[in-house]
């Protein structure tokens, strides 16, 4: 008995009319976000690791300087959303490939989803609520340009 393997380019049978093909949009998303992430991540790495003293120059004041401009706030938040969703969706593919036990698979997919939501919300709040001169900061750690309380 021989099994006929369909040509890989055989169009998939329509599941049912009117249904959204989420896998297709996931596939497109991986590619669209990938192109944007090249610019965002390479720019991020260039400014943080290559320019000036690179890693040795990164401290609280460095980040405060970047987040003083909406440019880097938006850069980072867009990068956060695109990378988290791209990475989580890629991990979902990998879990689907290797986790053969349905319960284990469901737990892993749930963990990926929760991690993505929590970190996207946390990272977005961190960028937009960041205040370099917050009154919660102990006086001995405050930056020099902050008003003395």
């Amino acid at each position: 008995m021989s099994t006929i393997i369909e040509s890989p380019r055989q169009p998939q049978q329509r599941a049912s009319k009117g249904r959204v093909n989420w896998e297709k949009y996931g596939w497109i998303y991986m590619r669209a976000s990938g192109v944007l992430l090249i610019i965002l991540i390479f720019g991020h790495l260039f400014v943080n690791l290559v320019q000036g003293d690179g890693i040795k120059a990164i401290d609280f004041a460095f980040v405060a300087g970047k987040y003083a401009t909406p440019f880097w706030q938006i850069w980072d938040v867009v990068m956060l959303w695109l990378a988290m969703i791209h990475g989580s969706n890629g991990m979902r593919t990998i879990v689907n490939d290797y986790a053969s036990n349905p319960t284990v698979r469901r737990i892993l997919l749930g963990a990926l989803f929760v991690a993505a939501v929590v970190l996207i919300v946390l990272g977005t709040l961190v960028v937009f609520t960041f205040d370099p001169c917050s009154t919660l900061i102990p006086a001995d750690q405050a930056l020099s340009f902050c008003p003395v309380p």
Partner: protein, 141 residues
């Protein structure tokens, strides 16, 4: 037709008696896929930690500078070098995947594209690693 299906997958014509292979199994296509997967997972887990360490800016300058100081030790410096090398592979190979999918000649040139990815990756690594390792192993001026 099974035979037709096989021929659409065959990428190389040669007079060799060895099976020609397919786009994936045992060839550059398979190794690039394995590396793409491993680097993707590695970057994902880094990103989980990285969002948490960046969140320390919201706690206090001392808390943030404390985590960042761990990034400045030599062992972590080697790890960062490996991370950036992994990202470069994932990014360039990702572009190759995108070209194979969307460029009409992409599949035809997939093997050449693979070697271009390797070349650009090596050049990128040679450009980045010395700068970063210099920053890691010398005191800032």
């Amino acid at each position: 037709m099974p035979n037709e299906a096989v021929s659409t997958l065959t990428t190389a014509r040669s007079s060799s008696k060895r099976p020609a292979g397919t786009l994936y199994r045992g060839n550059t296509g398979m190794w690039s896929w394995v590396l793409h997967r491993i680097t993707g997972v590695a970057i994902y887990f880094f990103l989980l930690v990285h969002v948490l360490d960046t969140a320390m800016i919201r706690v206090s300058p001392g808390a943030y500078d404390a985590v960042m100081s761990t990034y400045k030790n030599p062992i972590m410096g080697l790890g960062e070098t490996a991370l950036v090398i992994a990202i470069m592979f994932h990014a360039f190979n990702g572009l190759r995947i995108i070209l194979i999918d969307f460029w009409s000649k992409g599949a035809k040139y997939q093997r050449l594209l693979f070697w271009i990815v390797i070349a650009v990756w090596v050049i990128g690594t040679l450009g980045f690693a010395p700068i970063h390792l210099h920053n890691v192993f010398t005191e800032p001026h």
